[in-house]
Structures are given as structure tokens and as C-alpha cells.
């Protein structure tokens, strides 16, 4: 049973990550390739706070979201000056810089050796979570809150404005909306939630190293988003379900691990091609990336 619960916890983390990517990519039409960078920044900042201070989870979560959100300003600044493919490349550059810093700044991050022994989250500053059951309930509660808030964002006037920016930014500007501000807020919230997923991951597995936060991971998150669908809440959840559950289902086919890993990549690639060709808004999505 612990195995199933572990899968559900990882699924919850990925739901948060894919939902966070949906805010910038699916709603503001900004194809960012650095979601894993924010995930990693959140994980490392969270680890620092977890190891150095005995703070309640809500305080740590708030600090991690704030600092990770501030890092997003670097990317949103680029979005003002760069459009289309150039912006995508800039976000890729940000992702590579973050990975390189995490890998090489060994005094702080321990580089490739990673950071072991990360303590669990403390509820109310007292009770330290440990074990798969406690993390299961905590992650379920957290993902419930995140899904509720993201759904609210999608259907709220804020979401309406982001959707409008995706359709035609100039017209939205001419309607008196500061589109740069809206996109920056979307980036901030997106990065903050990715950072939150990072601190949950770090405390749950109690070990992090830079290889969990690579460009591949960013592509993985975006693939989940495109497969599930963009522009609403259901699509990203479905996408996260697909990418997290697929490798687990392949285990039951009885293939050797080496083949299953490659097969998984092939299936992801194939699914992406089929979805892009036949249903560009994703399986359960609302909008098409422009």
C-alpha cells in the first residue's frame, strides 16, 4: 500500500507543477522552459529553511513561495523585451543557469553530492511529518487548496484578462490593462507554486540533488501540460496523471526496467505528437498555444 501512497504523493507534486506551468504557458501564452528551475529553487531554499530553522510549515511555505516568486522577476523581465522563440530560448538559458549554479556552487548546494537528511515539515512548528501516510494526507490537502485556487484564477476576472492577453495582447493594452503587470503576476504565482512543490518534494524524499531539476524535467512538465490540455484546471491534472501513472502501469506489463524506461520516453513522445496533431488544445484543454 505504501507504494500506491508514494505514487499519489508524487502525483500531487506533479499536479502542482503542471498547474503552475499552465498559468504562464496555458493562460498567458508564454512558453517557459524553466519550470524545473523554479521547482529546484524552491527545493533548495526550502531545504535551507528546514535545516537551519525550526519554523512552522506555513512560514516556510510562505518564504519559499516569496523567494522563488522573486526569482521569476528575472524571467518576466525578459518577457517584456523578448517575444516568441527568443523568449523561449531565454527561459531555457535561465533553466541552464540555475542548473549550473546548483551543480557547481558546491559550498552551498553540495553540487552533485546533493543534500541528504533533509528534515520533515513541521506542522505548527512542533510536529514533524514523517512517513508516507502523513505526507499523503498533507500533500492531498495541499493539492486540494492549490487546485481550488488555480480553478478560481482560471474562472476569475484575472484569468479572463490572461486569456485575453493570449488572444491579442495589443487589444488588451488598448483596453487599459497593463499586460506586463498581468504577465509578471502570472510568472510570480507560477514560480511560487513550483517552489512550493519543490519544498514538499525535498522534505518528502529527504534528499535533493541538481539532477532532479534539469531542462529534461522542465520538458517533462510541459509535455504533461500539453498532453492533458491547457487553459483550464482539468487538463493539467489529467496530464499529471498521465505522466506519473504511465511508468507505473508499464511495470505491470512485466518488461525489464531498461526497456520500460526507454518505452516510457517513446510513449511520451508519441503521445505528444498525436495530441499536437489531432488535438492541439490537449486531451481536456480549452485553448491552443499561439
Amino acid at each position: 500500500m505504501e507504494y500506491v501512497f508514494h505514487i499519489i504523493i508524487m502525483l500531487n507534486i506533479y499536479i502542482m507543477l503542471v498547474l503552475s506551468a499552465n498559468l504562464t504557458i496555458g493562460m498567458a501564452n508564454l512558453l517557459t522552459m524553466c519550470q524545473a528551475a523554479f521547482y529546484g529553487i524552491g527545493a533548495y531554499i526550502g531545504t535551507y529553511f528546514l535545516m537551519q530553522f525550526s519554523l512552522p510549515f506555513l512560514v516556510i511555505a510562505g518564504l519559499v513561495m516569496l523567494f522563488t516568486g522573486l526569482f521569476s522577476c528575472l524571467v518576466s523581465f525578459a518577457s517584456v523585451r523578448l517575444k516568441g522563440d527568443y523568449f523561449v530560448i531565454a527561459t531555457m538559458g535561465f533553466q541552464l543557469i540555475v542548473y549550473t549554479v546548483l551543480y557547481n556552487w558546491t559550498d552551498v548546494t553540495r553540487g552533485p553530492y546533493g543534500i541528504p537528511g533533509i528534515p520533515g515539515i513541521k506542522l505548527g512548528g512542533m510536529y514533524e511529518l514523517s512517513g508516507v501516510y502523513e505526507y499523503l494526507f498533507m500533500s492531498l490537502a495541499l493539492v486540494g487548496v492549490v487546485v481550488f485556487l488555480f480553478h478560481h484564477l482560471v474562472v476569475s476576472p484575472f484569468g479572463r484578462t490572461l486569456n485575453a492577453i493570449r488572444a491579442d495582447e495589443l487589444t488588451v493594452k488598448a483596453m487599459g490593462r497593463n499586460t506586463v503587470l498581468f504577465k509578471s503576476i502570472a510568472f510570480f504565482l507560477s514560480a511560487a507554486v513550483a517552489g512550493l512543490a519543490g519544498v514538499i518534494y525535498a522534505s518528502y524524499v529527504s534528499y535533493i540533488d541538481p539532477t532532479s531539476f534539469t531542462l529534461d524535467e522542465s520538458i517533462f512538465i510541459i509535455s504533461a501540460l500539453f498532453i492533458g490540455g491547457i487553459g483550464n484546471t482539468k487538463g493539467p491534472i489529467l496530464g499529471a496523471l498521465f505522466v506519473v501513472l504511465l511508468p507505473e502501469l508499464l511495470r505491470f506489463v512485466g518488461l525489464p526496467d531498461s526497456i520500460a524506461a526507454n518505452l516510457r520516453q517513446i510513449i511520451y513522445g508519441l503521445a505528444l505528437i498525436l495530441v499536437m496533431y489531432y488535438r492541439p488544445q490537449g486531451i481536456w484543454g480549452k485553448a491552443i498555444l499561439k
Binding site: 484575472f158 495589443l170 487599459g176 497593463n178
Partner: protein, 251 residues
């Protein structure tokens, strides 16, 4: 104003444009392709910043103010290819054009639910009132408020985009070729909407190539040629001017 192309050649586009737009009137800006009409609109509405000179609106200098702030100061714009925003319903399009931004910051509509709901309800009623005023009681658009923009034809999107401008509380509207690509059936409706705008106290400056339409609608006409306003006056006088007919209409 000038621009430099990829070959580093510099061209003067607008050189000494001086145009007064009379309050409460419809002024048409006509001229050949590439004479800078849309560029002039871009300057007025804040989308073009690289120019010298002054843009003055109601006594306030609008130089180099960002586009979104210019809109809030009372200048609305219909783009040349302006249609409804795709992926949004007709009602969402109308609401977004409102100058009331209540609830648009993240989670504000959750924290101040009542206030946000009330503001949305006001916008909904305003949108319905506009559609009734333009298309009459019981018109089909009232039953299509929750339809996606893509459900409407190009011509319908054009007239609804014009109607949307009435949501904004603007005082000057810049309309870039409102009849462009529109079926003749809708041209009368566009004329009706523009007249409705003036009745509501708005001032209209429009770019148009359809000279029959300009003659019918515009009180004043400005002919832009070679980077300057070459002729300005009552519409019939400008369009019947020998030089304008020669150089622009080719008659």
C-alpha cells in the same frame, strides 16, 4: 517621424503632422497606403514611442505615456484587423472592455466576493444595454452572450468589436478601417454604431478607404499625403478637392 529598414535606409514617414480633432465630431483620416495613418494612430494611442512632437488630449500632453494608461485616460482604439478576442465569450469580451477593473487582481474576487460580483453584474447589464441600443430589443446577440468569439462571422465580430468600445467610458475613439473586409450588409450597422458613439458624446477619428462611407459618416476629413495633413475641412470639400482626387483617388 522616420523609420530605418533592414538595409539601414531611413525614410521620413510623418513630418510635421498637425491635426486638431473637433470634440463631438466624426473626423476621417484618409490617404494612400503607407502614408502613416495607422502610425499616427499608434502614436496617439501610445503604441509608438519613437517620435518627436506633442499629442494633446483635453489639454493634457500624452507624450510617451504607455498604451494602457492612455486608454484609461479616455482614448479607445479599434485595430485594423480588430475582432473579438478568441477563446473568450461575447460577454467576456464586453466585460473586459469596461474601465472598471474590480476583481481583476488575483484572488481579489475571492477575498471581496460581494464587491466583485456586484461589479460583474453591473458590467453584464451595461453590455446588454449596449447591445439593445444598437441591435434592438430581443436581438439575437442577447442569446449569444455566452458563445465563444469564434461562433461569430468576421462581419459580426467587427460590429461587436465596435459595440465593445462603448463599454470603456472613452471620450475619443480611434477606428482603423472599421469597414475593412466587412460584408456590405454590416456597413449600415457600422455607420449606426458610429453615430450612436457620437450621440453618447464621443469624438471619433477614423481611418477609412471606403470613400462612400466617409462621405456618409464623417463631418470633417483630413487628407494625409507625403507625411503632412495636406487638406483639412468638411468632408465633401476635401473629397471633391482637385488635388485629393488626383493624387489619392486617381480621378
Amino acid at each position: 517621424m522616420s523609420f530605418t529598414n533592414a538595409q539601414k535606409e531611413t525614410f521620413d514617414l510623418l513630418r510635421g503632422v498637425n491635426l486638431d480633432v473637433e470634440k463631438g465630431k466624426i473626423t476621417a483620416l484618409v490617404g494612400g497606403n503607407g502614408t502613416g495613418k495607422t502610425t499616427l494612430f499608434n502614436i496617439i494611442s501610445g503604441f509608438e514611442k519613437d517620435y518627436t512632437g506633442d499629442v494633446v488630449f483635453e489639454g493634457n500632453n500624452f507624450n510617451h505615456i504607455p498604451a494602457h494608461r492612455i486608454s484609461l485616460m479616455g482614448i479607445g482604439r479599434l485595430f485594423q484587423d480588430g475582432q473579438l478576442l478568441s477563446g473568450l465569450t461575447l460577454m467576456e469580451n464586453m466585460k473586459l472592455a469596461s474601465d472598471d477593473k474590480t476583481g481583476e487582481m488575483p484572488f481579489s474576487s475571492l477575498l471581496w466576493r460581494k464587491r466583485s460580483k456586484a461589479a460583474e453584474a453591473v458590467k453584464e447589464q451595461q453590455a446588454k444595454d449596449i447591445l439593445v441600443r444598437i441591435f434592438g430589443e430581443g436581438n439575437k446577440y442577447l442569446n449569444m452572450l455566452n458563445q465563444d468569439a469564434s461562433a461569430f462571422s468576421y462581419g459580426e465580430q467587427r460590429i461587436l468589436s465596435l459595440a465593445r468600445l462603448l463599454m470603456g467610458g472613452d471620450r475619443l475613439l480611434l477606428l482603423d478601417e472599421p469597414t475593412s473586409g466587412v460584408n456590405p450588409v454590416y456597413i449600415d450597422t457600422i455607420e449606426q454604431i458610429i453615430r450612436e458613439m457620437v450621440v453618447e458624446g464621443l469624438t471619433v477619428l477614423l481611418i477609412e478607404h471606403n470613400m462612400h462611407f466617409v462621405r456618409r459618416v464623417a463631418d470633417i476629413c483630413a487628407y494625409l499625403d507625403d507625411g503632412i495633413i495636406a487638406k483639412l475641412g468638411p468632408t465633401a470639400e476635401v473629397l471633391d478637392d482637385k488635388n485629393v482626387r488626383n493624387s489619392y483617388l486617381g480621378l
